[in-house]
Symmetry: C2
């Protein structure tokens, strides 16, 4: 039995991770669960999967869980509880499915404890890729991607030699506004933005798909995961989200990973690698689709993606600032405080103001992060 | 330096193999060359690449070569010469690019001599897959596919476990008549049939693409190369020939190999495996294509493919008979002796008449082969 801890169990990736584990109950056992404030769902999950420990972000939620759960399930709380849950326990693999940069200390704790990471919390690599990958290398720990694009690249690299890779291409559906011009983005509503054509995901990531910030974060994530330069990473619009991403090799051969848009495939692969197991998702029929379409990425239309590349190339704290400013801007958009296009202009302005610190440690990262949040909130 | 012998050097695959070798003149050295009757081209190749030995099928062609080539290049002749060329010499890899079933004895001789096979002569596996694969296994020899579809599958299987494979799908452009109904196939000319939309290939294989016999032979070839059952092999019409083929795994993940239709990529991979080297072909841009299309294979429209599956499932000498009857029928069509649709009806009738010998040896295969040729010539 492989023991798994799931950080962010009540979100979209978290709940689907538990579905996959249930589908293979003979192989996977839950060691720990962590969530934010959704105590009701975490309690339900804990009663069903019987982990040894759970953690909730808020005191109120933790109290609720303590009352509802049997005494042998330990209830932890807050940032410190999360780090303890991630780094302690018997888990072989920790699924990091928290949203945003608060997953970083827990991920580092899990790596230091020698646990494999099934990484869905891309902000971890975006804000501290150099620290996370250095720690993983030092501890000999595998970082297995959960994002469908990175899982695709990871699968395409199976059995291949790093020096034969010319570059990778991440595909992008184009998000909920892909058929609108820039002008037509004026005044779009939160509801419209949340209506993603292919993937059923959380609110933050759905907005990030519409702005293409999500793809930008994925570009930075890919840089760290696969040890690439930014000019080895390309993005292609592929509205059907069937080709999840691909690798081009030196001999002009391209290896791609395809499938229906269903996160349970890459989630499971991160748990079962190098094996492949039966998956509850559906099978792809290309004949049924009839066609797959592609168009060049338009960096003027999707300026946030250009900003992401720029922050990646700038390096240091630039990506932390890009990510933190975006979290605040998206939150403000979701709360109806700003317009959709203001996400982009806030990002631009915050990045302009930022003085980059090269090769930052955790403290410098945290400093840049909160500076970016304050600045993004004030614009 | 890797030493290569090319059987069928004056054909489409042969000449492209020499192009690839020239592109990597620092890695590959020509050991032997064999062709049919095109002495002029073989002489030119021999003068350029300086092999130790050459072989021609006919006495007249061999005499011509002897006169034109320097004395230190040995000139062999006929079936026996071909076997000597393939099995002797210093070649590490023998590229078998002869057309039709006459490549079998030479391929077996090369395997017995412990040489790797870059297999383009699919009829070898179609007529004697059980003998060829048994010999390769016994001698620990690699059979590396040169066909673009099989190279694609081979690449998609890199780093994967055999037990995780659910099945493979070979893509088919649909050939020169893919947009015609069965009725519209009445009275088509040889010229029309030779006009393949994507691939520049020899005459026989271009006709085989139009009848879908080629895909049928590839299905049988794939069965032997990858140790599959026929119900693990599917065929999909993909007019653009960009996805060269793909593998579906147990977790519903699909790995595909893509590229421009250029045989120099799979030819080179068969020589360089497991390395990937720069290739003289062009790079794929999916954005430039804009779309890739797919449609279900229609086994009524392409009855020869259904016959190929039937012969494969029947086993024994059935595939030999399918292939030999087809060689004669295509030859008769190319000579203007029969109609295009008669290829199919000849195949059907010959297969009906045939009494299958299970697990045939070389003699039984040769017997079935010449019986099928006689019968196909008489219908």
């Amino acid at each position: 039995m492989k023991k798994i801890t799931v950080l962010g169990s009540t979100g979209s990736i978290g709940t689907q991770t538990l579905q996959v584990m249930e589908h293979h109950a003979d192989r996977y056992e839950l060691d720990g669960l962590a969530a934010g404030s959704n105590a009701a769902l975490l309690i339900e999950q804990a009663l069903r999967f019987r982990p040894k420990r759970v953690c909730l972000a808020t005191e109120a939620a933790a109290r609720q869980a303590k009352e509802a759960l049997p005494a042998h399930i330990e209830v932890l709380q807050g940032e410190a509880g999360l780090v303890e849950l991630a780094g302690g326990g018997d888990a072989d693999t920790v699924v990091t499915a928290l949203v945003g940069s608060r997953g970083l200390p827990a991920t580092l704790a899990a790596i230091e404890a020698g646990k494999s990471i099934a990484l869905a919390n891309k902000e971890t690599l975006v804000t501290a890729g150099h620290l996370v990958m250095e720690a993983a290398k030092r501890k000999g720990v595998s970082i297995l991607p959960v994002d469908s694009e990175h899982s695709a690249i990871f699968q395409c690299l199976n059995g291949e030699r790093r020096e034969d890779v010319r570059g990778i291409t991440l595909t992008a559906s184009g998000g909920s506004f892909r058929d609108r011009t820039r002008d037509q983005l004026q005044g779009v509503t939160v509801e419209q933005a949340l209506n993603h054509p292919n993937w059923s995901m959380g609110a933050k990531i759905t907005i990030d798909s519409a702005t293409m910030v999500n793809k930008g974060l994925e570009v930075i994530e890919a840089k760290w995961l696969f040890g690439l330069h930014y000019d080895e990473i390309d993005v292609l619009i592929h509205p059907e989200s069937i080709i999840h991403s691909f690798v081009e090799f030196n001999d002009n051969s391209v290896i791609a990973q395809l499938g229906l848009p269903d996160m349970r495939v890459p989630i499971q692969y991160a748990l079962s690698y190098p094996e492949r197991l039966h998956n509850p998702s559906g099978r792809l029929s290309l004949a049924e689709y009839g066609k797959l379409t592609f168009r060049e990425m338009d960096f003027d239309r999707y300026r946030c993606l250009a900003l992401a590349f720029a922050s990646g190339r700038a390096g240091g704290t630039a990506t932390t600032v890009f990510n933190a400013a975006n979290e605040v801007a998206v939150d403000r958009f979701l709360r109806g405080e700003i317009e959709f296009l203001a996400i982009e202009s806030i990002l631009e302005k915050v990045m302009e103001k930022h003085e980059i610190i090269a090769n930052p440690d955790l403290e410098a990262i945290a400093g840049a992060d909160s500076w970016a949040r304050r600045t993004a909130a004030s614009l």
